[in-house]
Each structure stands twice: as structure tokens, then as C-alpha cells.
């Protein structure tokens, strides 16, 4: 099937089996390896990307479903000013340990702030609840999101 979509701000067209996982298409066909596979069944969130600004688990998206959609991965997002705010916040809050969940956490954060620029603590926790981290115990990640909210005032 011919699938047309926007990938990291660029129009792309691929001819592929539409049942393939978006995760595989991103990693194999486009070499976007910042998108990680941690579980393959939508539990861990390491494969989080945005489709039309909303975070999804790319391991559970058949690539046919992104036809005519806008897909953003960490590789595209990292070029934006909003990313810079989140990046610095993650560094300053100590939110990064092994790093395997981190790009997914960043995408989940963007998805949250796009919908809700001033989230409560509970809303932050809910927004990150599909992204498992085994290293931090989450407090520093939650702190990082709060820092990003504060420093990114007006950006979202």
C-alpha cells in the first residue's frame, strides 16, 4: 500500500505492508532509532511518538493508520525550541538515568503540554503513566515536567 504522511515535518511516501508496526517502519525504513522498543505491547511507552500531536505507542499502530497523518519522533522534535526547554529541565531535574525510557517520556511530556500547558501534579502523573521508568521512581521526571512548564511559560 502507498502510505503518505508527514514525518518530522516532511512529507514522505512509502510503499509497504500497512500491517507493519509504525515502530518498525520508523526504526528500519527511516533509521529513527530514538524510538525504542521495550515491550512490544503498549505497556512501557519507550516507543512513544506523536500522531497529530498526541502521544501513541508506535508498537501498537499499524502503519496504515498514519496515512495522511502527522508523525513526530524525538528526531524531529529535538529541533524545536520547546524540546530545548524540556531537555534542559530533564537535565536539571536529574530525570535521566539509563535513558531508555527518556525519549518516550519527552514525547509524552510534549503531548501533555500541547493539550494542557498548565497541568497539575496529578495531570502530569496521569500523562506519564504509560511510560515506564525502572530507574528513577518518577519523582525527578515529574519535577522535570514541572520545571518545563515553568520555564516554557507562553511557549505551549
Amino acid at each position: 500500500m502507498i502510505i503518505k504522511f508527514t514525518l518530522n515535518h516532511q512529507a514522505v511516501t512509502i510503499d509497504t505492508d500497512p500491517s507493519r508496526r509504525l515502530l518498525d517502519v520508523l526504526r528500519v525504513d527511516f533509521n529513527l532509532v530514538g524510538v525504542k522498543e521495550g515491550c512490544g505491547e503498549g505497556e512501557c511507552g519507550a516507543c512513544s511518538v506523536l500522531i497529530n500531536h498526541q502521544v501513541v505507542n508506535s508498537c501498537l499502530v499499524p502503519v496504515g493508520n498514519v496515512h495522511n497523518k502527522d508523525v513526530l519522533t524525538i528526531e524531529g522534535y529535538k529541533l524545536t525550541p520547546k524540546y530545548k526547554i524540556i531537555e534542559t529541565a530533564f537535565v536539571d531535574a536529574g530525570a535521566v538515568q539509563c535513558g531508555f525510557c527518556t525519549p518516550g517520556m519527552v514525547m509524552a511530556t510534549e503531548s501533555l503540554l500541547y493539550q494542557n500547558p498548565h497541568p497539575s501534579d496529578l495531570e502530569i502523573k496521569i500523562a506519564l503513566s504509560g511510560n515506564l521508568c525502572r530507574c528513577t521512581g518518577y519523582n525527578m521526571i515529574i519535577e522535570a515536567v514541572k520545571l518545563a512548564v515553568e520555564r516554557g511559560e507562553g511557549l505551549w
Binding site: V33, G40, E75, T102, P103, K125, N131, C135, G137, Y138
Partner: protein, 697 residues
């Protein structure tokens, strides 16, 4: 100079946040093939036949028949084959690899391979003891003869899965005569030595490189050696790069976990209601192969008295073999099981004898100069009372204990007091590891740290350069610490046992001191250091006598919970911790370790349930094996109290494992208070709470 504890940005954070950090699954090589493992579908028995379909051009299978030298993973006991022999000892034991270019074709071949077995009766009970140790302290007979009270309890702990978010994986390829392996590993030299042992080749024919590691927690200590050996054999046969990445389910079903335990404790109390003697009988389920079980057992046994001093001991321990997936290293390494048991026991003894549990525990605290469980000595100052004061004050422990003691509040607060021996048990550092480190100053006056220590998230990539930069008084940016490559770095030992900062960091600091003293601008210089055990440390491995560890880190956790009396679910309300890790090399990194550690420890205590039913792991994925999400954690407050250790860099001791150990007993004690029932096993699941609450009502 600024206080070393003052935090700096982690040097690898930017690459990780932006997705640029290269994990093993992200690596591609020209002409690379993929491998998939075919595993046993029975628990115990013999392979009678393997029926392989005719393979298309370019596809191969690799089995034990391809092993020309040793088909065992070199760990401690040489009992675990990396390609199953005819004898199958657990479900999902690796039998062969299918290797080729197209994953669809490989997948098809694996489904077409038919293996026939002759099944045998598996063993799951404790009838097969494969390792047993015992030791004594003082005179246990006398203590029990003169006892006013004798109290006995048995405690049980379950399996725990490391659940690193990045599954296991390797890529291996040939470079001339050499085999190069890049993997998600904790111990580059363990892998290297295992591959040398498997191939029977010379040292310079194996090169091991660490990729960025997406979490490990002990799970990537010994297990990766098995995959490395399989791949090395495959690469020698096929002569092309091969990549093998585990699926999550495969990872959970076939890799090592925390040993389940059963611990029977019997205490003798004198007329002052003090413990004069303790008997302990510790059983660990090692699974189908021994692996590291002997050292896990040692650590559990040595931790028998917890953070307390008890004069007379009789300690016996054994590892039993069962036909389940082998258990192995996991952050804490035997200590979490023992600390759960002893902390609950101290509380239960106090309750049983109508004493205030807090006062009872305080009376037994270990003090400087006391004899350890193995009749060594606590030589260094112990600041446990300060830790307890900080943790209880910040958590309002005492007022909450009285508030929650009333019926029908269903809230509880629990405290654990614990220690962790830093570094290898006994004289392992001097007899087995013999760590070497190297500093290389370039002509440009940049300094390279050459050690085999792995950053698996704990931040050593930042903290080691910080130590060197502080000593040399140069910016951290001029200190380079690349991911270790065994062709470039000496063997500084494995990244385990809370040893990296204290032992490897200590050597690096010594090397930096020397480099500073002989520093010549714009000249290449190298300094090498090797570990020398302090003279006064004496350890008799056969008798478990002497100083089991060069130093101890200490901690106190206070956990507050609410239990829903209708659903029996536990919610963590607050956690407060205080630690003595000597000196934090970077406070934020340590607090991050501490928060992650207690989260894993508490989850071990109440949330993470893994059961092997007739040898089959029932929770085989992250849908069924539940680890905490952001909504399962509470606010955590962590206090680090300085108590510098003379031989550690800037006074640092071990930290990584310590922070996990107290989580389970603290939360179990909190739940015990909330439901006013005696808890004797973990995880304290809602199902278990229901049983307890509805018992004798």
C-alpha cells in the same frame, strides 16, 4: 573548591534525552544477520530428536554441535550450558539459534523446527540441595540454654524480575582473527572471559565493547555471557555480523531473577527481653543452574543480623535446585530477602513480648567496635542514630505510629533500618578481581579514564570524571570516560556489588593523585593502579569468619501507606529516607539512585508478583508483571548524611544496592500496622491482605 557533592549536569544526559545515545538494538552493520533462539518447550527431560527443515541458502542453525571447546557459561560453577545439552532442566532453555538475513524467513524456520522430548518428572520442592554453608558466632548453645523466651518465625519472599526497560541484546562480528561483541552488559570482562572459555581462544581474540545500557539492576551481570557465548560460536561458524535482541517476553521467561527465599529465624531472649542468640535457616531457590547462587547465599547469610548486633549466632543456608529458570544477580544480591526477614522478625519479637518495637530495635543497633555477624568488626563510625532521628522526624514517625494504632483507620507507617556491605564479599576483591585502573593524559592535557566500569544509568560516567577533575583541578569537560572496550581498558572488575565508586573510584582517585604529583604539561602520561586490600581486613572464606566487607553503608526508610478495606489495595502516601553512603559524589545522582532504589524495593514488597507454576513463569510480560507507574509512587524525601570513609574517594562508599534493601520491610511493616495482622511474606498483595484480614474474624 566546590563541595564534590554539588551536582553537575550528567554528561550523557543530552544524548539520552535526544534519542542519540546508541543502544545495542540501534546498531547496524554491513551484511548483518539476525539470530533467533529456539527454546525448550518442556520443563525437564531429554531431547530425543531435533527435526530441522531444509534451510534456504544463507540460513543456518547453530547448536551445541558447533561448540568446539567448552559448552558452559563461565560464572562460578561450570554447570550452565549456553546451548542446551540433551538434558533439559527448565522451560525455555536455549537449544539453538536460527541465523540469517531476513527475519520473516528466520521466524518461519523457527516455527518449522520440531523438537521431540522424553519428559521426566521435574522437581520444585526443596529436596535437591546443591550448595550449603554454615557458620557460628559466640556460643549459641549457652544463649538458648539460658533463654527466658524463645521465638520462632518463618518468612518467605518471591521472585522479582529486574525489568530493565531495554531487553538483553548483543551484536557480534569478526575482525580478522578477533571476535568483537557489543552488548548491553554490566561486566565487559565477565563476557570476555566467558567467550575465551567457550572458544578456547587466546585473550587477544576477543574484544567486548559496552553499548549504552538501558538499565540492568544485576540482570545484565552474568546472564549476557550466555548470549555472548552463543553468538561467538555462531559468528565463528558463519563469519558474518550477527545481532540477537531479546523480545520482552523472551527476556522475562528465560533470564535470571531474584531468588525466592524461605528464612526460618529463632531467637533466644534473656530476662531483659534482649536477643542473646539467633538461629537462622536460609533457603534460596536457585532454579535449574547454580550460576551466582553461592555468592547470593553468602551475602544473605552474612546479613542475618540486619543492622543489629547479636552476640551468638548459628546460621545455615542452602541453595536448592528446582526445574525453573535460573535465578541470579539482582540489586541487593541476597540482602533484600534477609532484611525483609530480620526486620519483620525484630518487630514481631517486640510485639510478641509486649515491648515497644522502636525501643527494642534501638537497643540492638550495631555500634562502632561491635563484632559483625561473622565476628569481624565495625571499624568505622556508625551514624545510624542520626539517620533514624532524621528519618523519624521528617516523617513524623512517632506521632503517626500512635495515630495509626487505632482500629479502622487502615493507615500504617513502617520503618526499616539496614546496612549494605560495600564491594565483593570477603576477600573477593584481592583474590578474584584484582582491579586495575589506568589514567591516560594526552598531549593536549585531556585525561582519559580507562576502566571497565559500566554506566547503566547510575551515573558513573559523570561521577568518575568528577572525581578525577576535582583532584586534578581541571574542568570535567577535559576528562573523558568512554564506554569501556576491553581492547582499551584494563580489567577494573565488574559493575556490581556497590563497588564501582568505592573500589574503582578509589583507585581512580589514587591514580589522579599520582598524576597530579607528576603532571607535565603537553606530555603524554599514564598512571596505573591496582587494588590492594587493606592489611587489617581478614577473611576466612571456608568458615565465614572475619571482615566480610571493607566498609558498610547504612540507611533508614520510613514508608506510610493506606490500605483500602474493600479492595485490599495499598497506596503509598509518603516515603522518607536517610542514608550514610560516606560522601555523595553528586548529590542529585545519589538521590536519583535512592528514589529508584526504594521504588523497586517497595514494589518488591507489595506490588511485583511473579510466580512459577510447575516451572512456568505465569507473569510473562509487562502487562501481567506489574512494576510501578508514575501514579504508583508517592512523594519521596531523601536525606544524605556525610560520614566519610577513609579509603573511599572523597569519603564515598557504596550506594547502588543499599537503597533497594529497606523498601520491602518498611512497606510490609506499614501494611502490618494498617491492617493489624502479622505479615510473613512478600509481596504483600491485595490477595494476601484479604486472606489476612478475613482470617479469624
Amino acid at each position: 573548591m566546590a563541595d564534590i557533592s554539588q551536582s553537575i549536569p550528567k554528561v550523557d544526559a543530552y544524548a539520552k534525552i535526544s534519542g542519540e545515545a546508541v543502544y545495542v538494538s540501534d546498531i547496524k552493520k554491513e551484511g548483518m544477520l539476525y539470530a533467533k533462539t529456539v527454546r525448550s518447550s518442556i520443563v525437564k527431560g531429554k531431547i530425543t530428536h531435533i527435526d530441522v527443515p531444509s534451510l534456504p541458502e544463507g540460513y543456518s542453525i547453530v547448536t551445541r554441535a558447533d561448540v568446539s571447546h567448552m559448552n558452559v557459561v563461565k560464572i562460578i560453577f561450570d554447570d550452565m550450558p549456553y546451548y542446551a545439552t540433551d538434558e533439559i532442566n527448565h522451560l525455555n532453555e536455549p537449544i539453538l539459534l536460527v541465523v540469517g538475513e531476513d527475519k520473516e524467513i528466520i521466524d518461519k524456520i523457527t516455527r518449522e523446527i520440531k523438537i521431540t522430548y522424553q519428559e521426566e518428572k521435574p522437581v520444585f520442592d526443596d529436596s535437591q540441595s546443591v550448595i550449603s554453608y554454615a557458620f557460628n558466632k559466640g556460643s549459641i548453645k549457652k544463649a538458648f540454654k539460658n533463654a527466658k523466651d524463645i521465638i520462632e518465625m518463618t518468612y518467605e519472599t518471591g521472585l522479582q524480575e529486574q525489568a530493565y526497560i531495554e531487553p538483553q541484546g548483543f551484536i557480534a562480528y569478526e575482525e580478522g582473527e578477533k571476535i568483537v561483541l557489543i552488548g548491553s552488559i554490566q561486566c565487559p570482562y565477565y563476557v570476555k572471559n566467558a567467550v575465551i572459555h567457550a572458544l578456547g581462544c587466546s585473550e587477544n581474540q576477543v574484544q567486548v565493547i559496552q553499548a549504552v545500557v538501558g538499565g540492568a539492576f544485576g540482570g545484565k551481570e552474568e546472564y549476557p555471557s550466555l548470549i555472548a557465548c552463543q553468538l561467538a560460536i555462531a559468528v565463528r561458524k558463519i563469519h558474518k555480523p550477527i545481532k540477537l535482541i531479546f523480545e520482552r517476553e523472551e527476556d522475562i521467561l528465560s533470564t535470571t531473577k531474584r531468588h525466592p527465599s524461605k528464612i526460618k529465624l529463632t531467637a533466644a531472649l534473656n530476662h531483659l527481653n534482649n536477643i542473646t542468640g539467633l538461629k537462622a535457616d536460609i533457603t534460596l531457590d536457585g532454579g535449574a543452574y547454580k550460576g551466582l547462587s553461592s555468592v547470593v547465599l553468602s551475602r544473605a547469610m552474612i546479613a542475618v543480623t540486619g543492622a543489629y548486633t547479636i552476640d551468638n549466632l548459628e546460621v545455615q543456608g542452602k541453595v536448592i535446585k528446582t526445574n525453573t529458570v535460573p535465578n541470579g544477580a539482582f540489586r541487593g544480591f541476597g540482602a533484600p530477602q534477609m532484611f525483609f526477614a530480620i526486620e519483620m522478625f525484630m518487630h514481631h519479637i517486640a510485639k510478641e513480648t509486649n515491648q515497644d518495637p522502636f525501643a527494642f530495635r534501638m537497643r540492638h543497633l550495631a555500634r562502632q567496635g561491635d563484632k559483625t555477624s561473622t565476628s569481624g568488626h565495625f571499624r568505622d563510625p556508625i551514624i545510624l542514630e542520626d539517620l533514624i532521628r532524621v528519618a523519624t522526624e521528617k516523617s513524623k514517625y512517632h506521632s503517626k505510629v500512635s495515630a495509626y494504632s487505632n482500629e479502622n483507620i487502615y493507615k500504617g507507617i513502617g520503618m526499616s533500618i539496614f546496612l549494605h556491605g560495600c564491594g565483593f564479599t570477603g576477600s573477593g576483591e584481592s583474590t578474584h578481581i584484582k582491579a586495575k585502573v589506568k589514567l591516560l593524559k594526552t598531549k593536549e592535557d585531556n585525561v582519559k579514564i580507562l576502566v571497565a566500569a559500566v554506566d547503566m544509568g547510575q551515573g558513573i560516567k559523570t561521577t568518575l570524571p568528577k572525581v578525577v577533575a576535582s583532584i586534578l583541578e581541571i574542568p570535567v569537560s577535559r576528562v573523558v570516560f568512554d564506554y569501556p572496550d576491553t581492547d582499551l581498558v584494563p580489567d577494573s572488575g565488574p559493575t556490581v556489588a556497590s563497588r564501582t565508586m568505592m573500589i574503582v573510584g578509589g583507585l581512580v582517585a589514587k591514580a589522579a593523585d599520582e598524576l597530579k604529583s607528576k603532571w607535565i604539561d603537553n606530555e603524554e602520561q599514564t598512571v596505573m593502579k591496582q587494588y590492594v586490600q587493606p592489611e587489617y581486613i581478614k577473611w576466612d572464606e571456608s568458615k565465614f569468619q572475619g571482615d566480610a566487607y571493607p566498609a558498610y553503608s547504612w540507611g533508614v526508610n520510613v514508608v506510610e501507606v493506606a490500605v483500602d478495606p474493600l479492595t485490599y489495595q495499598t497506596k503509598i502516601i509518603n516515603t522518607v529516607s536517610a542514608y550514610d553512603i560516606g560522601k555523595a559524589i553528586d548529590e542529585r545522582i545519589i538521590i536519583g539512585q535512592a528514589e529508584g532504589g526504594i521504588t523497586q524495593g517497595m514494589a518488591y514488597g507489595y506490588l511485583e508478583r511473579m510466580v512459577a507454576k510447575d516451572g512456568k513463569i505465569m507473569q510473562k510480560n509487562l502487562t501481567d508483571y506489574l512494576i510501578p507507574t508514575s501514579l504508583d509512587t508517592s512523594k519521596m524525601s531523601t536525606y544524605i548524611l556525610d560520614n566519610p570513609y577513609a579509603l573511599g574517594p572523597f569519603g564515598a562508599k557504596g550506594a547502588g544496592e543499599l537503597t533497594l534493601i529497606g523498601g520491602a520491610p518498611a512497606i510490609a511493616l506499614a501494611i502490618e500496622m494498617a491492617i493489624n495482622k502479622k505479615i510473613t511474606k512478600i509481596p504483600v498483595t491485595p490477595e494476601y491482605i484479604m486472606e489476612l484480614m478475613n482470617h479469624d474474624h
